[in-house]
Amino acid sequence: MAVLERLTTAEIESAARKSRRRYLLTNSGWMVLVYAVLVIIALATFLPYLWMVMNSFKTEANFYKDPYGLIPRDWSLKSYLGAVGYGRMGVFVRNSFMYSSVVLMVQLFFNSLAAYAFARIEFRGRNVMFLMVLATMMLPGAVTLIPTYVLVYAVGMLDSFAGVVVPSFAGAFGIFLLRQFFLNIPTELEDAAHIDGAGFFRVYWQIIVPLAKPALITLGIFIVLSEWQSFIWPLVVLQDIDKYPITVGLALLRDRNQDFWPQILAGSVVGTVPLVLLFVLTQKYIIGGITLSGLKG
């Protein structure tokens, strides 16, 4: 303090300016490094996609002449027409869309019903049952794959639309996520509704569901992402090509059509664009949801 008192304000200000300048100087060197690393990794992420999109617009001849050129010499939609026609990408995208939307709706409904009971209704065995739900999350998919096949076989749903979607009709992760969200909703509104004689379902449907919209949207996006990307289960359960989702369809197109890569790439673009659109439109929810699940896990 004594030293400080002896300094004039001008001296203090100039010293502060000097140290700030030094800080900015070393800091800007640091920032250049930071951005350099980020740009390099961004390029490494971006270039394979650029390659995929650009080559999907090449003709077959042009592609094999110059498979790594990033600008098509003769822009052509032939690969896309082929992917939709011969490759049946239209059918596969439609199937993926149907599978995703059915699983989305059923899971949101079933999971939120269960989550509501776990969050709001006191009943015998609630904790044990909730632990059992959580326990199913510990099961690796590798273990349930074969018995799921056996179950679907036993009820005669192999190679059917239902066989693809039914095993995903409920999810422990969804129940857990929604329950956590429901627990944070204040109960006053519900208490009032109960006093006015509303039953549990009415409260669930008219109070909880509207209030939980952000959580439902977040979970919904996760469900669509994972259902659209799912590969091994539809691969195992389906025989009929016309029921294939886009992922299995692409693998098939590649097997049938080793030599016509622009078509495969066009199909890949068609199979990826819906998810990228979904991501761009709902990024806020996805990042928020990952944050939530990451910290809770």
């Binding site: 920032m31 996609y49 019903l113 049952m129 739900v133 998810l275």
Partner: protein
């Protein structure tokens, strides 16, 4: 439930619709409960019995065979080989993804202005179907492909990645790291955002440098995120499949056959369901032990 004082619970009569409440709760839970019960609990039981039987959808007669399937699994060099490959995959890809995602999150956090742009870009491989990622990278890994072009810039003659049995697994690992980093970066960024700025201010006052700040503040407070990331990655990596199916079909010379690939091959190509079920139980035990050991290590080690 009955944690309140005795007197209180005696004064407030139980609601008359208590039974109705139980029924309502079970009605709410039953739709999801039914499917979880079938495809998790009953599934485990089926899988357990299956692993001791020779049942198959293409066979007329079947019976229980004791430990034969387990003996077959353990006696199969292909199964051991697939374990070796998968262990290698886990051992390299998990640390690689964790460290690069952590590094990227730390670096990305400094880029205040463009942080969300980079985050969006790095996240795109996560939302791309794994099949598409694998299809693109088949071309990146060709002899004249993108990877070797980058390597040639620094004077390295790259191999023909996917056709070289000593390089194919490494190629798949590189691709997997590329595809997974963005997702885990977002998790680490969320963890970093949760660390109160006060700690960093205090460190600055004490004159701690960047390294010390990272080592003594960031890393210990990021522990939960690290635990989550490592355990999620280990569980997922032991079950790697799609990459192998699309890029190499387990080849060349069985070099990229994973355990899940062996399970798939036995169950759905040779229809030896019992052997495949036994293999999946062995895999389950391995995953379970790994997870338990990691949890123990993480929880017992008090960093701060």
């Amino acid at each position: 439930m009955s944690s309140g004082p005795q007197t209180l619970s005696r004064r407030i009569p139980r609601p008359r619709w208590s039974v109705a409440r139980q029924v309502a709760a079970y009605l709410f839970i039953s739709p999801a409960g039914f499917f979880l019960l079938a495809f998790s609990f009953i599934a485990i039981v089926i899988s357990f019995f299956l692993s001791f039987s020779d049942w198959s959808p293409i066979k007329e007669n079947w019976g229980m065979v004791g430990f034969d399937n387990y003996a077959t699994a353990f006696g199969s060099w292909r199964f051991w080989n697939s374990f070796k490959n998968t262990a290698e995959f886990v051992a390299i890809s998990v640390p690689a993804i964790t460290l690069s995602a952590l590094g990227l999150a730390l670096i990305g956090n400094h880029a205040r202005k463009l942080r969300s742009v980079f985050r969006t870009l790095f996240f795109i491989p996560t939302i791309t179907p794994g099949v598409v990622v694998a299809l693109i990278w088949i071309w990146m890994f060709r002899l004249d492909g993108g990877v070797n072009e980058v390597l040639s810039k620094v004077g390295i003659d790259g191999p023909n990645w996917l056709l070289d049995s000593s390089k194919a697994l490494l190629a798949i690992i590189i691709m997997t790291v590329w595809a997974a980093v963005g997702y885990y970066m977002v998790i680490f960024m969320a963890g970093l955002a949760d660390i109160p700025q006060v700690y960093y201010d205090a460190a600055k006052v004490d004159g701690a440098n960047r390294w010390r700040t990272f080592w003594n503040i960031t890393l210990p407070l990021l522990r939960n995120s690290v635990i989550f990331v490592v355990i999620t990655l280990v569980i997922g990596s032991w079950q790697v499949f799609t990459q192998m199916f699309i890029m190499t079909r387990g080849g060349p010379a069985n070099a990229t056959e994973s355990v899940q690939w062996e399970i798939f091959r036995n169950a759905f190509m040779s229809f030896d369901m019992g052997v495949a079920a036994a293999m999946s139980w062995i895999l389950f035990v391995v995953i379970f032990v790994f997870t338990a050991v990691q949890l123990k290590i993480f929880i017992s080690r008090q960093i701060y």
